[in-house]
Amino acid sequence: MEPIIEVKDLVKSFRATRGVGKRSRSTPTVEAVANVSFTIKPNEIVSIVGESGSGKTTLGRLMVRLMEPNSGSIFFEGKDIFKMKSKSILEFRRNVQMILQDPYDSLNPLYSIEASTKQPLNIFMKKMSAKEKRDTVISYLEMTGLRPAEEFLGKRPGELSGGQRQRVSIARALITAPKFIVADEPVSMLDVSLRAEILNTMKRLKESKGVSIMFITHDIATAKFMGDRILIFYKGTIVEHGKMSEVMNSPMHPYTKLLIDSVPSTNLEEARDYLSFNEEADIKQLMPAGNEGCRFADRCPHAMSRCSAESPHNVKVSSDHEVLCFLYG
């Protein structure tokens, strides 16, 4: 099947600031996204897992064209989104939406739920009558589990709980029937008890609407629950990717193994194993640009001398599973 999204050699680097906002030519740049390529197929959920600072949020913002990359391109249905002119950008905006992380910040506190949810319709469905718009808003709010939707229409975000607000954000993201949605840690700010419900809602909507979702998370358990495929992100690079079941059942990269092992366990033996894993790991910030070597080398229990000298290449494990590590060739 034709991929809906194709990311090719994407690079985004930031210049680090030193002191109080002082910048000079000598300040180092860090690569938040370093030469990343992958594809997403229609009606597929791809989970992107990485720790904080791994650049996964930057990747998400690039995907929806909130920022420009330094190099590389993203193709949406074959068209490079960074070369689009204003008219096709609008079409792109209609088809690609994003669910933001913080539900307490992603709705304008001054507008009613109806007004916030309706905003995309006012932009893209100008011909719709007020009544139709209202009905559409109601149906989407109900779809995300806000029932009865009529009761929510006139409320302000301040009168809603975090979970309810995140449902409004999801309804708002879906209302123009997009083909692709970036969900940037949509449940990380919510109570644990609410998460499963929201995730189930998103999964159900993916089935019924046939959208593709790029699900960004730091929690591998959530990623497993949501995704058809998984990309493991570490310091701006994809260290392992493949079909969810394959990667989870036979993780290859040491970092993937670490992530899977670090899911808190009630088993004390396992917990001890995890805690003793590479205790002295020095968690460094993002890698300076242009450095050779594997980015995980300084934390890796299997590090060899070549790991810090040369950059590893993708090794194909099976038809839909690749890993970026010298251990496998």
Binding site: V64, L66, I89, L90, R93, R94, V96, Q97, M98, L100, Q101, D102, Y104, D105, S106, L107, N108, P109, L110, S112, E114, A115, S116, Q119, P120, I123, F124, A130, K131, R134, L153, G154, K155, R156, G158, S169, R172, T176
Partner: protein
């Protein structure tokens, strides 16, 4: 928007807005500071608006004995020409308030526009505008006021012009800093992803969320302008023939009211400036307590 009251959409939106406004007003007036400050503002506003009808005499004609102390005929006494000081005071309120609000309006308008543009567009626009603002901020304002007033025709409107030009930079700084933080908020990001135009993001997402702060600073601009205008007038700058609190003090000084022990000529304008300043200050602080502390969540 369809404003036909029978339209259900309008009705719900209207009801929701009305509910929010009512809630806001109620919480505002629960604050004693706001109630007190607002009463003072209301008192002087009424005096200012209806001054012409309240004043018992023509302030420019001699209607009583010279240097008469306050009495039932002349509430605030009379001056060296036998003019009624109460009439001067009431009619002067109109001009002083007019100058205060006009300056606040114009400098607020310039300050908000510059701050919004600089903060939203950023980069070179921001740099250019803010360096200009810095220049205006470091110039010692009062000497410049004095020089400018000496060159412009001595009318009330040129006083308004001068004060407006010199009062907006601070406002633009405050607005800019607000824009910088609101620009990064989730709901602005959400609007951008929805393909909303920059103009709409500026005026529908960012500006309305700054209104409390803008309003508070407008109030401070009013106080500042009234005091600055009185200061200029006291030194004989601006239109000394206009009747306002500043020119009252100017004439009292020129005609040696202090030597004549005519405290009734000096105290009313001085006290009025003080009390109005206090009231507006309480109003602004009260609003900031209520609207900025119970936050946006």
């Amino acid at each position: 928007m369809n404003v036909d009251p029978r339209n259900p959409e309008f009705r719900s939106q209207f009801a929701s807005n009305a509910r929010m406004a009512a809630h806001l007003l109620r919480s505002l007036f629960k604050s004693k500071r706001i109630a007190f400050g607002f009463s003072i503002l209301a008192f002087f506003s009424i005096l200012g608006i209806f001054g012409k009808f309240i004043a018992p005499y023509n302030p420019l004609s001699s209607t009583g004995p010279l240097w008469a102390p306050p009495s039932s005929a002349h509430l605030f006494g009379t001056n060296y020409l036998g003019q009624d000081i109460f009439s001067w005071f009431v009619i002067g309120t109109t001009t002083s308030m007019y100058v205060g609000f006009a300056v606040a309006f114009f400098s607020g308008l310039i300050g908000v526009s510059v701050g919004l543009t600089a903060g939203y567009l950023g980069k070179y626009v921001d740099e250019a505008l803010m360096r200009g603002v810095d220049m205006l901020l470091i110039i010692p304002a009062f000497p410049l006021l004095v020089i400018l007033s000496a060159y412009l025709p001595p009318t009330t409107n040129s006083t308004i012009l001068i004060l407006s030009i010199l009062s907006w930079p601070f406002m633009s700084r405050i607005v800019r800093s607000q824009v910088l933080s609101l620009k990064e908020s989730g709901f602005v990001t959400a609007s951008r992803i929805s393909g909303e135009s920059h103009i709409k993001i500026m005026f529908k997402d960012i500006l309305p969320n700054m209104l409390p702060i803008i309003f508070i600073n407008i109030i401070f601009l009013v106080i500042g302008a009234i005091i600055a205008q009185a200061g200029l007038a006291f030194f004989g700058l601006g239109n000394i023939n206009s009747i306002n609190w500043g020119t009252m003090l100017y004439w009292a000084q020129t005609e040696d009211a202090a030597i004549q022990n005519a405290w009734w000529w000096i105290v009313p304008p001085g006290l009025a400036i003080g009390i109005l300043g206090l009231g507006l200050n309480m109003l602004a602080n009260g609003i900031s307590d209520v609207m900025l502390s119970n936050n946006r969540r």
